[in-house]
Symmetry: C2
DNA sequence: CTTACAGCATAAGTGTACGTTATGCTTAGG
DNA sequence: CCTAAGCATAACGTACACTTATGCTGTAAG
């Protein structure tokens, strides 16, 4: 029992004639006869009442007709579901990002949603160290990380350049100056993020190189908490510029240039392989490219390892 | 997109491997590869992520899988529905009979229902003259009539011999005698059925042949009414024995033998063609045969024009 | 790093099966 | 009784799908 046979059978049942069905199917009458005969032989049932000459179905034919209609409907449903998927009228996009890189996603997601409003988007918060694994295990399709993953199965694409920026409250002694040496910073209380990250190591390394003591006596669990703490006039913090853009703009926080501490952060989209991605994910990559092109620096899009 | 392709696709999706799917389908691995490749080409979509080597589906593959499962389930549902039909676990039997011949059907229907309790039965009351047409137009599959239809498309089978019997009430003058000549009957009031039927013509003809006047002054619309009327002591009536068997047994009515009025009634099942009948109808014919064999005369089954 | 193996793709050859044209059979209508 | 319509059957060619054989790629082991 095949869809091809059922299609032929339904045509005969609807046209109430072998010859007319053949015409409709752009085949000859014997072809139709043979298909029906084979189907009947396979099922062990007569499907059409030849004696009546009016193409009436037998009881078995009537039963089969219902199922045949359902199956053929499902086939066209499936076809249009695939078209929907391709044209992004449906679909789902699973992303992973950590607290900080998540911020990068927001404007891109905005653009993506505008272009493909029917595609569901889910951003899952994850530790940066685990994102590559999640991509590999199909938990998510795309992830945002701030370092190049070493697993060769994971492709990545540079999507954003960020930098660490030293922030103080507007009322802070350093705020007026607008810059400070690393030695000067050493006299301040450092507010740190209490997650082990490559960022943290870089900062500690820089201080060590300049033989400057680092007073890291306050550790807070979220960037939001760090910002609020600094804003109240408590010490200084080194955070990705992306996370404080709004506050720097509004003057709630002030950035201090520290020549010895120019730490660049490269954000990358990581994914399995272009071909293995869903239509939604591929479309997302396109939006990212367009977004990068439109915004230029610091949204400097550089394709690496395409 | 064919069920065969979908079956292959589902096997691969479930086994998460082309090779294992091939083994399950008793085919070789290249065969599976080719089927999938062709399906993908036809749909213009990659269905399986080859890079992952763990047989994961792409988004299109995931969408297709759902539809494929539904379709294949429908196919097996259809197959078992046909088996149900064949084994008479389902089905429907439409019959037609008139007021009188309906009585013949009752014990047969009883036997049929005992054998095939899941088959629905509907007896439609119809005028004898229209039953052959209804059979031809597929309104019903089987009909019971008391004459051989002349339409060559309608097959018939003799299933029962009945006779006309003259009935009077137990208190009637003729009841004691148990028999009467046609001339004697001529002196009685005849209660007739007010439907034009071949039966009626036969009776009138017999009286004419014996040059006996026929006092047909009461016409009633149903056999039930005629029986009740005669039972009250009003005249006599000629009715099929089948319709008064119960009353003759219980003594509510008395049969009078009339040598000149021996009218035999042959009941026939009419139908289109054996091959065009539903499983239920064919089973019904078998039950009729068995019933006739078991009960012998007057259930004398004679196959005519098989 | 090299090798071996696992797994899918590709190629070439073969058989089945479906399509075609030609024709026969059955039934309805003139 | 003859003709026409409609389905079945026959004969034949082609195309598709299965097979075996082999290539390619990525992964794991030596």
């Amino acid at each position: 029992m095949d869809l091809f046979q059922l299609e032929t059978f339904l045509a005969v049942a609807e046209e109430r004639s072998f010859s007319r069905a053949a015409a409709r199917l752009h085949r000859t009458q014997p072809a139709v006869s043979q298909v029906i005969a084979k189907l009947e032989a396979e099922l062990g049932e007569t499907l059409l009442d030849r004696s009546s000459r009016d193409g009436t179905l037998t009881d078995a034919g009537g039963v089969l007709r219902e199922y045949a209609e359902k199956m053929l409907n499902l086939r066209s449903d499936a076809a249009s579901a695939l078209v929907d998927l391709r044209s992004l009228h449906t679909g789902r996009l699973n992303l992973a990002a950590n607290e900080y890189t998540c911020l990068y996603l927001l404007p891109v997601l905005d653009a993506f949603r505008r272009e493909h409003p029917r595609v569901k988007v889910a951003v899952q918060r994850a530790l940066a160290s685990r994102i590559a694994d999640e991509v590999l295990q199909h938990s998510v399709e795309l992830g945002v990380v701030s370092f190049r993953p070493d697993d060769p199965q994971v492709r990545s694409m540079l999507v954003y350049r960020d930098e660490l920026v030293c922030i103080v409250s507007p009322g802070h002694a350093l705020a007026k100056e607008g810059k400070a040496s690393i030695q000067r910073l050493g006299r301040e209380i450092f507010v740190a993020h209490n997650v082990a990250s490559p960022l943290r190591q870089k900062v500690i390394g820089a201080f060590k190189r300049h033989k400057t003591p680092l007073q890291m006596e306050v550790e807070l669990p979220s960037l939001e908490a760090i910002k609020r703490f600094v804003q109240r006039g408590n010490g200084v913090a080194l955070v990705p510029r992306l996370t404080v853009e709004v506050e720097l703009e509004s003057g709630e926080l002030v950035a201090i240039a520290v020549p010895e501490l120019q730490v660049e952060r490269k954000l990358r989209l990581v994914y399995r392989r272009q071909a293995a991605l869903s239509h939604a994910a591929r479309a997302f990559l396109q939006v990212v490219e367009k977004h990068a092109e439109e915004h230029g620096d610091p949204f400097c899009f550089i394709a690496e390892r395409a």
